[in-house]
């Protein structure tokens, strides 16, 4: 137990890496996923298949393979990423593929008549999206998106595989030195749980905030 307490500052550094990677990935994947998701619903026909293939392909391969591909294979064709960036890129691409589907589903769940009514009063495309579609779609977007964020936090543990000392690797290194695995694994689990519990609680608050539509 003492070891666990003594190792806290070290674990804290690992936790910060986990949070930094997660935040970066959540931000990048949200931007990419929303733009591509809107593109697949409303974009021109030539845009549909590239996005479709991107989304299906990335959702169809294991995340670990994607990380190793970017970290080990891309340098062979001259694309070098630092170890942390290769994981951020891999995770962002992977999550954005999921967000594309969430955005698509959220938009398509809204009755066609909403877009028509918005057109009929003369709103332009971006206005229709901003004032009519998005405020309704966000309610369906939030729950699966928060799930994706939780997955990202957990998935960020994979950075330890390319030698970055995040929370997971920090725990393993402390165990390697002290040979007392149990308290440290429990401590690590609690830390991950607290982060994700905060996220899912925030999600419930947000869902209630956007629950203005009677089904």
């Amino acid at each position: 137990m003492l070891y666990a307490i003594q190792s806290l500052p070290f674990l804290w550094k690992g936790l910060l890496i986990t949070l930094e990677v997660s935040a970066l990935v959540v931000f990048l994947s949200l931007i990419a996923g929303v733009i591509l998701g809107v593109g697949i619903v409303y974009g021109p026909r030539w845009l549909y298949w590239p996005i479709r293939i991107y989304s299906d392909f990335l959702r169809g391969i294991p995340l670990l393979v994607l990380i190793f591909f970017i970290y080990y294979a891309l340098p062979l064709i001259g694309l070098n990423f630092t170890n942390i960036m290769s994981v951020v890129v891999a995770l962002s691409a992977f999550e954005s593929a999921h967000i594309i589907e969430v955005v698509r589903g959220a938009i398509q769940s809204i009755h066609r008549g909403q877009n028509e009514a918005a057109k009929a009063i003369g709103l332009r495309f971006t206005q229709r999206l901003l004032y009519v579609i998005a405020p309704q779609a966000i309610r369906r977007f939030l729950p699966p998106w928060i799930n994706a964020v939780v997955d990202t936090v957990k998935g960020s543990a994979l950075v330890s595989l390319v030698g970055i000392v995040d929370l997971t690797l920090a725990i393993q290194q402390v165990i390697g030195r002290t040979y007392v695995p149990m308290p440290l694994y429990i401590l690590g689990a609690i830390m991950y749980f607290v982060i994700n519990y905060i996220l899912s609680s925030a999600s419930r608050v947000l869902e209630a905030r956007f629950a203005y539509i009677r089904e």
């Binding site: 009929a120 709103l123 332009r124 203005y212």
Partner: protein, 263 residues
């Protein structure tokens, strides 16, 4: 009624449209003058709703021309005399002057009654909040919803929702108002309150094109009735001329079916 071309609000020539192999509009010509209330009747699949939806380009058309206040709705002339489909920005300008009320109301469920009416005034007409609010409240009061400004659509009855839908359309001060079977989704006891509002608008000189199955209403409100069948206008005339239906078999059959449904 003055018949000068300046009072022409809608002019449709040779309008054709197909969904796949199914031709829904097969050469429609129609002139609607300022202040006219044109009621379109006909069996389902006759093309009447599609005609209405082409006028503000919720449906594109394949051939022919629709002009609203002298402006071609679907196309602009590109160099070389080719017709090009209009872009989103141009279309939005045109649509802002064409009001539409929908069968299923299509109110924005996340906005209150007042916000529903204000949205177009603010974002399309560019009015300040205070002015948009004043106009929205004025119209909601006129349709009998002075006590419902802050209600969300989900807290309103069907008839009330449809009256908000009408207020939302007329608040934009449209050159023509399109009404697409606006009472079809209502319980029978709520139909009257909506039609009363439309009759008042007609009295005030609003130019309207109305698709409906309510024959009594059609008779009362129409300056002209069109009977559509097979994607064409088969007969048109005053309510008395059309509804007495002498000598047109398909119109007679249609009116008999409607009559049966209502008794």
């Amino acid at each position: 009624m003055g018949a000068s071309s300046s009072s022409l609000v809608v002019q449709i020539r040779g309008l054709r449209k197909s969904f796949g192999v199914n031709r829904v509009l097969d050469g429609v010509d129609l002139d609607v003058r300022k202040g006219e209330v044109v009621v379109v009747i006909g069996p389902s699949g006759s093309g009447k709703t599609t005609l209405l939806r082409c006028i503000n380009l919720l449906e594109t058309y394949d051939e022919g021309s629709i002009q609203v206040d002298g402006v071609e709705v679907g196309f602009h002339d590109a160099p070389g005399g080719v017709r090009q489909p209009r872009g989103d920005r141009e279309l939005s300008h045109i649509r802002a002057d064409i009001g539409m009320v929908f069968q299923l109301f299509n109110l924005f469920p996340h906005l209150t009654a007042r916000e529903n009416v204000m949205l177009g005034l603010r974002k399309v007409r560019g009015l300040h909040v205070a002015e948009a609010k004043r106009i929205a409240e004025q119209w909601l009061t006129r349709v009998g919803l002075a006590d419902k400004f802050d209600s969300l659509p989900s807290h309103l009855s069907g008839g009330q929702q449809q009256r908000v839908g009408i207020a939302r359309a007329v608040a934009m001060d449209p050159k023509v108002l399109l009404l697409d079977e606006i009472t079809s989704a209502l319980d029978p006891e709520l139909v009257g309150e909506v039609l009363t509002v439309v009759q008042e608008l007609a009295k005030d000189g609003m130019t309207m094109i109305v698709v409906t199955h309510e024959m009594t209403f059609a008779r009362d409100v129409a300056t002209r009735i069109l009977f559509m069948d097979g994607g064409r206008i088969q007969i048109q005339g005053t309510p008395r001329e059309v509804l007495s239906a002498t000598g047109h078999e398909r119109l007679k059959a249609f009116l008999a079916r409607i009559e049966m449904m209502h008794h």
